[in-house]
Symmetry: C2
Subunit: 91 residues, 2 copies
């Protein structure tokens, strides 16, 4: 499978979940640690960690270790890529 198709696959897989879409909306406002994200959901920390991993593999978020914390940020570059994909549907 081509690298491009794999990338698109990972992006749409990552977006196909309400929790992950909410996480993106939260990160749009400001960077948050894994724990801060988990606190905003009624879902266990390991599950949130798994969601973050899927978002990371899709390149939709980046993470940076800060001491014992891990801070997550949204990656707007990839958001532009999604835009491009949607555009191809139009013309």
């Amino acid at each position: 499978m081509s690298k491009y198709i794999n990338k698109v696959n990972n992006i749409f897989k990552a977006l196909n979940d309400g929790t992950r879409r909410e996480i993106l909306m939260m990160l749009k406002e400001k960077d948050l640690t894994a724990g801060e994200i988990a606190d905003r959901f009624n879902i266990s920390k390991p599950s949130i960690s798994h969601h973050l991993d899927i978002l990371k593999r899709a390149d939709l978020v980046t993470s940076e270790k800060k001491g014992q914390f891990v801070s997550y940020s949204i990656n707007t570059t990839i958001v532009d890529d999604i835009f491009q994909w949607i555009l191809t549907l139009k013309n």
Copy 2:
């Protein structure tokens, strides 16, 4: 669950499959019947029918019965809606 969230859910669910994304790209070029679409894949007709149903429930395509055929078209209105959603990720 709100109507809006349900709509977004259905859209991303529909987009989370390579076959369905290919169908959309094909319909972008021109309208096609269920059979014409099925002929372009190594997948059974019932499976394609199922994919078309998912696209229809997401409002990504519309269908029109023409005699014994069913013609499918892409719905660009919803494509605009996806655009809107992606936009909210940016600002």
